[in-house]
Point group: C2
Chain length 138, copies 2
DNA sequence: CGACAGTACATGCACGCGCATCTAATGTCT
DNA sequence: AGACATTAGATGCGCGTGCATGTACTGTCG
């Protein structure tokens, strides 16, 4: 495409077309990168520690951000819907990795706290997590 | 953390710790970015054109990479499992957007080709797709 | 106080996904 | 040619997800 030989309106189309292609390219790379990292994480965390990638993210949030985690905070951290987060917490609770506690100030809400077993599982899984990131993020 | 006051082995730990944090940060951003773009795409493509984001990616592949698309090629393009791709093609076929054709050279394989209706749907959805990318990718 | 909008989380439901497996066709080795 | 491993794609199954809705609680306004 030779811009010098084109009329103005064609140049504009060409330029925006180039910009569009760059945008699409960026999205493709983002998608490929994400897919590679996430599926590897999912797979290796599951086989070594029996938790999924989302479960890990939730545990990490709970292990680091001490003591003020309501269910809604988790929703934001894990990039899932409210209902998915609710079930995620239910799974973690059934595994004994977190506990649900009533929030006294607002009895609609619940506090989610990590248990000792949860912290232990998190610290073990953290090794694997970092290892996978090292391998797959360039 | 003051590196000058630390013994050598501690410095090494500290340095690798910084690198680790950068890696984790990068993953968090990738995840957040991906989630935002993908869910917006999913939502708007669905409501305006009745197809999901993965369906769109498949259509785009079929519309641009002319005529040599086996099912396996799609699998790679869409970042899905083989079985998911198979069902994806089945859905698109049911909607009349693609056609499955037997591959004569290797009768195990199938060629997937986009129909006129499929190309039309793709071109319409493409507008929305680019629009969303423009909004959500910075 | 009583009614009613709003919020936090749980749950029924339909659906898309990955894994394991199945089927049919191909390629290989003797 | 006959037996066996391999490959392409389809399918049964269990599970995690989002959407819509339900339930319990809070806050506000008359």
């Amino acid at each position: 495409m030779n811009l010098h030989l084109m009329p103005v309106h064609a140049k504009l189309v060409a330029v925006s077309d180039v910009a569009e292609q760059a945008l699409v390219q960026e999205w493709r790379e983002l998608l490929a990168r994400y897919s590679a990292v996430f599926s590897t994480l999912e797979c290796r965390l599951q086989e070594r520690h029996g938790i999924g990638a989302n479960e890990f993210e939730a545990l990490e949030r709970l292990a680091t951000c001490d003591f003020k985690c309501r269910s809604a905070d988790l929703t934001e951290a894990v990039h899932l819907s409210q209902s998915a987060t609710s079930r995620l917490v239910a799974r973690l609770e059934k595994e004994g990795l977190v506990e649900r506690a009533l929030c006294e100030m607002d009895r609609r809400g619940i506090f989610v706290t990590i248990t000792d077993a949860g912290r232990e599982r998190y610290l073990a899984a953290k090794q694997t997590h970092r290892e996978v990131l090292n391998e797959t993020l360039r």
